[in-house]
């Protein structure tokens, strides 16, 4: 087969080196003045031009495009770059560039196909769409159709394929609580950890491929090497538990323990045997479905076990409270603490998981009662001076006959946080209950404010003393001006209504400075304090008595 030729006028050695890393490509250098003429030669498949003569450049580009050959321009300066873009060349790079960059540009230009003037726009748009279809932009992993293509030959040769379906259960929860940007970051970490793990595992001797379903699940294809038995059930169980530990520790290191506590993998497995009578795609898709079902049934089993854990926890009152300081933005003094309930049992450590399980088992009120009574213990043991205790109360809890305004002895020290996420069904009745609490001296905070599309109207209805901004608004607020604008609006609204704004989830100094500048009154987040349940409150570390 004849080689593809890369034609160039460049004398830079990097261009020649770049061709060296392109498979099946040959390199041909001609003088600047001969370049246009040489394009018509057979086998020329791309042209790299570095001339700074605009007329010569135009001639080369026109000639190349007439012949359906893509052009890559090496630009010495901005003017050259502009010229190249105006001439609608396929790719450009800035001179000097290293060989890697150049070969990448050549590959991209060729991959985009030959330009046909009238269809050029449509083709390029399609190309943008196409590239996005092939690889998941977040994880960089190939999408399923790509992976099926790649495994086709291997699967035929070896005759069998093991599909592992990795279902990451609570990733949707991360998105719900922290916003899509956080989930994107967590998925990136996950994909990197999975790849790292695969490079390291014993199964890498055979072929393992990963794909990502664009939701939150990963699919592994394991094609055992010839002469090696496919992984057994035990191998896979062991592999999964190591993978779980590995990914879990990476997520904890990068995103903190709260997010790591939400993380769980369930792995389903299916064995697919090659059958020449059945279309290969169908075989693989069936295998994937079977593996996905298997992962779900494992999840079901695990759920049942957790419900049992929860019943035990309720009986033994096995819930403890972490107190997360809320500080005054200006002075960084502690203003109060949010009580965060955690399960003593490992499987119920995360409050989100615990309440999920409770909802399934119809134990929400019972769990809420336990969490409240535990949290209130902190009024005596935790609070100093005028510090307040913030406790989370679900709007549905107000319908619980056991929850009334007399349950808590010192209402003036308690702020009840009500989440904006839960829809309130019977609004007039809910307001009546709220009033009864308010009359006793309780204060209210709207939690997760701004999490939905609803604007300030729904917040105004609750007449809160505090407005807790949704974490997704704070995450990376320093670089996003739309978030800054929304928070500014909220602060103004609070100031007009005599309320205070609390920014939750402040993790970095930049975020702290941004919310401070926007006039946010109070701040809570890892940047200042981590939640703690130690007997000594964190204030002792900074303020000596």
């Amino acid at each position: 087969m004849s080689e593809s030729v890369l034609l160039t006028d460049s004398t830079q050695p990097e261009v020649e080196q770049a061709v060296g890393s392109l498979d099946g490509w040959a390199f041909e250098r001609v003088a600047e003045s001969d370049l246009a003429g040489a394009i018509a030669q057979p086998n020329v498949r791309a042209v790299v031009v570095t001339t700074d003569d605009p007329t010569k450049l135009r001639t080369v580009v026109e000639r190349a495009h007439d012949n359906g050959i893509p052009v890559i321009v090496g630009c010495a300066d901005d003017t050259a770059r502009r010229r190249a873009v105006e001439l609608k060349v396929e790719e450009w790079f800035r001179c000097p560039a290293d060989a890697d960059e150049i070969s990448q540009r050549v590959r991209a230009a060729v991959g985009r196909g030959s330009p046909v003037a009238s269809h050029a726009t449509a083709d390029r748009v399609e190309n943008v769409e196409y590239e996005q279809m092939l690889h998941d932009s977040l994880t960089g992993l190939p999408t399923l159709p790509v992976m099926i293509e790649r495994s086709r030959t291997l699967f035929k040769e070896r005759g069998e394929l093991v599909v592992l379906y990795l279902s990451f259960v609570r990733y949707s929860k991360i998105e719900e609580i922290y916003g899509w940007e956080k989930l994107d970051a967590v998925l990136e970490t996950t994909a990197a950890a999975v790849r790292e793990f695969l490079d390291d595992t014993s199964m890498s001797s055979s072929r393992v491929m990963v794909s990502f379903t664009n939701d939150d699940d990963f699919i592994f294809f394991h094609v055992p090497a010839v002469g090696v038995a496919a992984a057994t059930e035990n191998d896979i169980t062991e592999l999964v538990s190591r993978l779980q530990t590995h990914v879990g520790s990476r997520i904890e290191a990068q995103h903190g323990e709260d997010i790591a506590a939400l993380f769980d993998i369930y792995v389903g497995r299916a064995h697919v045997y090659y059958n020449p009578k059945i279309r290969l795609e169908r075989l693989i898709y069936r295998g994937i479905r079977e593996a996905a079902n298997a992962s779900r049934s494992i999840e079901e089993r695990e759920r049942a076990r957790r419900v049992a854990d929860l019943r035990t926890s309720l009986r033994d009152r096995a819930v403890y409270i972490d107190y997360h300081p809320i500080v005054v933005t200006e002075t960084k003094e502690i203003f109060g603490y949010e009580a965060l309930a955690r399960g003593v049992m490992r499987s119920l450590r995360s409050p989100e998981v615990m309440f999920d399980v409770a909802a399934e088992a119809d134990l929400v009120w019972e769990l809420s009662r336990l969490c409240r009574s535990r949290a209130i213990e902190g009024i005596e043991s935790r609070l100093h001076g005028k510090e307040l205790l913030f406790i989370n109360v679900d709007p549905h809890d107000f319908s619980d006959p056991a929850f009334n305004e007399l349950e808590i002895a010192s209402p003036e020290r308690v702020v009840i946080e009500i989440t904006e996420r839960t829809a309130i069904k019977d609004y007039p009745k809910f307001r009546d209950r709220l009033e009864a609490f308010r009359a006793r001296g309780f204060r209210f905070a709207v939690d997760d404010a701004g999490s939905g599309y609803a604007g300030l109207g729904s917040i105004a209805n609750l007449e809160p003393d505090f407005i807790k901004l949704d974490i997704s608004l704070i995450n990376a607020i320093d670089t996003n001006f739309i978030k800054q604008n929304l928070v500014e609006t909220m602060v103004k609204f609070a100031n007009d209504h005599g309320a205070m704004v609390i920014a939750e989830g402040v993790e970095r100094a930049e975020e702290f400075n941004a919310v401070k500048q926007l006039g946010v009154h109070l701040v809570q987040g890892f940047y200042l304090h981590r939640p703690s349940h130690a007997a000594t409150p964190p204030r002792k570390e900074t303020v000596s008595a």
Binding site: R124, E131, Q132, A454, G455, F481, I482, K483
Partner: protein, 148 residues
């Protein structure tokens, strides 16, 4: 040399503007007059500008221009600004770094939430004045130079 910012003239720009401080910008607006006004105003300030007049053209130029920043009109025939923004932000190589400024009247809370969801970084309210536009461009480019 004076430390203050000097006035940028056409001659300066044709010569050698610092590439880092003046990276390429893609302006997308179906109204040719608007696009032209923005182009001229920003070019005089030293930014290399490319112009597209609809969503498809913007996407087709995206990989070629590799803009650091996109000024994107929301209301366009065909692919609207939201869709273009989403696709740019999902681009495997350029999506992570490009900053997208939506040109629209986002006065409602829910519009801004929508813009956040789509991945937009900032917005300019229409009708805008040119100095505001320049400030918005500058603050977004400053963000890009100091990635978090």
């Amino acid at each position: 040399m004076r430390a203050t910012a000097r006035d940028v003239t056409e001659a300066d720009w044709a010569g050698e503007m610092s590439d880092e401080r003046h990276p390429p910008i893609l302006v997308v607006d179906d109204n040719h007059d608007n696009a032209e006004i923005i182009r001229q105003y920003l070019e005089i300030r030293g930014y290399p500008i490319s112009v597209a007049h609809d969503g498809d053209e913007a996407l087709s130029m995206f990989e070629r221009v590799r803009p650091a920043l996109v000024l994107l009109d929301v209301m366009m025939p065909g692919r609207d600004g939201w869709e273009v923004c989403r696709m740019m932000k999902q681009h495997p190589t350029l999506g992570k770094t490009v900053r997208v400024i939506m040109v629209t009247a986002l006065d409602e809370w829910q519009d801004k939430r929508e813009a956040l969801q789509i991945g937009a970084d900032d917005y300019v309210e229409k009708p805008f004045d040119l100095p505001t536009l320049a400030t918005t461009v500058q603050r977004n480019l400053a963000m890009q130079r100091t990635p978090s």
